[in-house]
């Protein structure tokens, strides 16, 4: 880990010297996932076939709830570094390491080997980004138009969600500009932490980090996306698998309890607006002794619309532009209750000196409701800077 950090440091120093390639060359091939693993700008070719890059993100936050200040301070939110190597015409490997909240948490977010048999079929193995919704696959802060990630992604699904796995991905062109992409993996899946480590009722993110499959029963996760043209895409993702330990040394100790997650995502670019959204519904087979307290169904969505404007308004930065937009977040942690929900409305205003760097100013307002449906009014000002490097 440390050596990667050192390498990254070295890379940082080299960047100005090497003048990292901006993405302004002849129309590059459309990436598999826009903003995804192999679509990082500023990836600097450092040593022959290896490219290095990363992104960093810092926040200033002022959050209030029911008239009291909940948070007023600064966060060195994340510092991520990625490397990718084209080993041969058919083999490539990419990795991403994340240092979160002042290195309180360091994790290998991605480290996978791709063996490309054809465009339609690539084998991928290693630490994968679960194809569970579009946002999980392309969640880099410099790309996200808002400071905070969508709540359905963080609270319901546990983005950034990566896990060890093995599977296939591929792409089928449709006409001149269209295509269908798929990813399908067997992964360790979630563990029963989504219940046993979760004081507030079922929380799927608490079942993450199942690095050695807890129940020797892999789960399946996949996404299929249809894109008639660039800037228009509809995806369906699903995760299905047992999360609990149901067998111990061959002896059945519980029944198999399944977790199923569906995510529907869409991206539409029209009339100067970029509209993105994701909706998810989950079902969890909760042990009988916990039913009524731990949710067996959850759901949520986000919908955002953003418009760029003011390209070159800042005379000193000819490639700069602004964007403004809004996002709606809704999370329902327990479908059987009126309460246990979050509703949030965010307005955002961004300035990008170049496409790869963004200054974001957000104001949000919302309501968090407890299980009794008692509301807490929330509001916040968030300012953040994020940049690729």
């Amino acid at each position: 880990m440390r050596s990667i950090a050192l390498l990254a440091g070295a890379a940082l120093l080299l960047v100005p010297a090497l003048k990292g390639q901006d993405t302004t060359q002849a129309a590059p091939e459309r990436p598999f996932v826009t903003g995804g693993v192999y679509d990082k700008p500023y990836l600097t070719r450092l040593l022959g076939r290896t490219a290095l890059g990363g992104y960093a993100e810092a926040h200033a936050r002022l959050e209030r709830a029911d008239g009291a200040t909940e948070e007023f301070g600064f966060e060195a939110k994340r510092w991520n570094i990625f490397a990718s190597t084209q080993v041969s015409d058919f083999v490539r490997i990419a990795a991403e390491v994340e240092f979160e909240d002042g290195a309180e948490e360091i994790k290998l977010e991605f480290a996978a080997i791709d063996v490309s048999i054809s465009r339609q079929l690539t084998l991928r193995a290693g630490m994968l980004l679960s194809p569970l919704g579009r946002f999980n696959l392309a969640h880099d802060s410099p790309q996200n138009e808002f400071t905070d990630r969508p709540l359905v992604s963080t609270e319901l699904l546990g983005v950034a969600l990566s896990e060890p796995g093995l599977g296939v991905l591929g792409l089928f062109p449709l006409g001149a500009t269209g295509r269908i992409t798929y990813e399908l993996y067997a992964v360790n899946g979630f563990d029963d932490g989504l219940i046993t480590d979760s004081p507030d009722g079922t929380r799927i993110p608490r079942g993450r980090g199942n690095f050695e499959d807890n129940n020797n029963s892999p789960a399946v996760v996949g996404r299929m996306a249809w894109s008639p043209r660039l800037g228009l895409e509809f995806g369906v993702s699903a995760h299905h698998g047992a999360y609990n330990v149901f067998e111990s040394e061959g002896t059945p100790v519980d029944q198999k309890r399944m977790l199923t997650i569906w995510v529907f995502d869409a991206e539409v670019e029209a009339a100067g607006f970029r509209v993105m959204g994701e909706a998810s519904t989950t079902s969890i087979d909760v042990p009988s002794g916990l039913r009524g307290i731990f949710a067996s169904g959850q759901r949520g969505f986000y919908l955002e619309a953003v418009r760029d404007f003011g390209r070159g308004w800042v005379r000193t930065m000819p490639r700069s532009f602004f964007s403004a937009g809004g996002r709606i977040d809704v999370v329902d942690f327990d479908r059987d209750l009126d309460g246990d929900t979050i509703h949030r409305y965010t307005a955002g205003f961004n300035f990008r000196p170049t496409r790869d760097t963004v200054l974001k100013l957000n104001y949000f307002r919302g309501t968090v409701r407890d299980r009794f449906n008692n509301p807490t009014e929330e509001a916040g000002f968030l300012f953040s800077v994020a940049t690729y490097f």
Binding site: R64, D66, D200, G201, I293, Y363, F372
Partner: protein
């Protein structure tokens, strides 16, 4: 500016700044009014008492996961998950107590049904042939004031033989606190103590109420009750499922929560409109106030905010025979199966606000309106109930308005 920004940019950015400023004005989410909540501190607490209040508030709200010690068998995950906003609960959060002819039937899992269990443990199932009593969680605000009311003031209201012939014969529930309640603790000490808390006033001490709530309701062991509750009818050892070492919380956590509920203020009553004044007069005239005593006084108290305060709770904290309809036929302490502690009426004004618009009244939450609750009164309250039923519609409305504004 002009050197950096084009003219259009200045205009748009200026506009954005104005919008932002407007957002700022609305930015400070508002705190609910002090008297409109169930979870505010008593006025006049010292900074130390307030600091302890805040600590206790956190623990009161803290939910336990199975990995943190929840269960093995339990009813809910935190104090706050039953007492909504520190007020009463919903019927879905009600507890079931059971026993058999005065025996707590611990060999059958009595005296409380824990119908939830963590993975690996077996939840309890109600055994056949037992006496059952369903208990709606009562509010927890104002319990420090209830605790601080002098014993003499409560006993002065007792009239076990109905010497005054008004048909009302309130009597105290004398209970023996468990050994873990220290003698210097209010409601503690050897020998019978005056019960004040819970539906049959079967609990004399807030410490006991809290320790047992952790132990019985949440399955959290403490220094006071360090051994997990069992399901004696389970085929597997109940506590093998709970891997957290006992005691799961310390004495200081329990003390913080006790301090918190002790220093919770009751909400303010609504304004006295002319109709409510009329309702109040009828309330006294019908002798509702014979049991729902409008005000009692606290005695001296180490917490200055609790000392010599009027407590406008509308209860005598005594037991009354409430007739067949309300009887649970299950004795509790020295309370028999027809007796209930007079339910305090404070906070009814805000009840629905904390129950998602619903109302749940009486010991088991069966009444869905105040009127229904009154009409279900019987026994010693039969005369008051009949008097209420005989009122004209306008007068009834006045009584309901008054009671519903407390």
């Amino acid at each position: 500016m002009r050197r950096f920004f084009r003219r259009r940019a200045t205009a748009v950015l200026g506009g954005a700044a104005v919008v932002l400023a407007a957002a700022c004005a609305d930015f400070t989410t508002e705190a609910p009014l002090e008297g409109d909540v169930f979870d505010g501190p008593l006025p006049g607490l010292t900074p130390e008492e307030l600091a302890a209040f805040v600590r206790g508030d956190e623990d009161f709200g803290r939910a336990f996961s199975p990995a943190e010690g929840l269960g093995p068998i339990f009813n809910n995950v935190s104090c706050a998950s039953c007492h909504s906003g520190d007020g009463r609960g919903r019927v879905e959060n009600a507890l079931t107590r059971f026993s058999q002819a005065g025996s707590l039937v611990q060999h059958l899992g009595g005296p409380q049904l824990q119908d939830k269990a963590i993975p690996g443990a077996e939840a309890e199932v109600l055994p056949a042939g037992v006496d059952v009593s369903v208990r709606l969680p009562p509010p927890v605000f104002g319990v420090g004031l209830i605790e601080a009311i002098s014993e003499a003031a409560i006993l002065a209201l007792a009239d076990e033989t109905d010497a005054d012939g008004d048909g009302i014969s309130g009597r105290p529930n004398w209970v023996t606190p468990p050994a873990f309640v220290p003698a210097m603790e209010p409601g503690g000490g050897s020998g019978p103590q005056l019960g004040r808390f819970s539906r049959k006033a079967q609990v004399s001490s807030l410490l006991q109420q809290t320790v047992e709530a952790y132990h019985q309701d949440i399955g959290i062991t403490s220094d006071f009750l360090p051994i997990e509750n069992q399901n004696p009818l389970a085929g597997s050892p109940t506590d093998a499922a709970d891997r957290v070492a006992d005691p799961e919380i310390s004495q200081s956590t329990v003390r913080a929560v006790v301090h918190y509920i002790r220093t919770l203020a009751p909400p303010a009553p609504g304004a006295d409109t002319p109709e409510r004044m009329r309702g109040r007069a009828l309330f006294v005239q019908l002798n509702c106030s014979g049991c729902h005593v409008p005000q009692l006084m606290t005695g001296p108290n180490p917490i200055a905010a609790l000392a010599r305060q009027p407590v406008t709770l509308y209860s005598d904290l005594l037991l009354h025979d409430m007739g067949d309809d309300l009887a649970d036929n299950r004795p509790d302490g020295s309370a028999n199966g027809r007796e209930w502690r007079t339910a305090p009426l404070w906070g009814l004004r805000l009840m629905r606000q904390f129950l998602n618009g619903d109302a749940f009244l009486l010991h088991d939450g069966r009444a869905r309106t105040i009127e229904e609750a009154i009409l279900l009164h019987g026994g010693e309250a039969q005369a008051a109930r009949d008097g209420f039923a005989a009122l004209g519609p306008g007068e009834r409305t006045a009584v309901l308005d008054f009671v519903g504004s407390r």
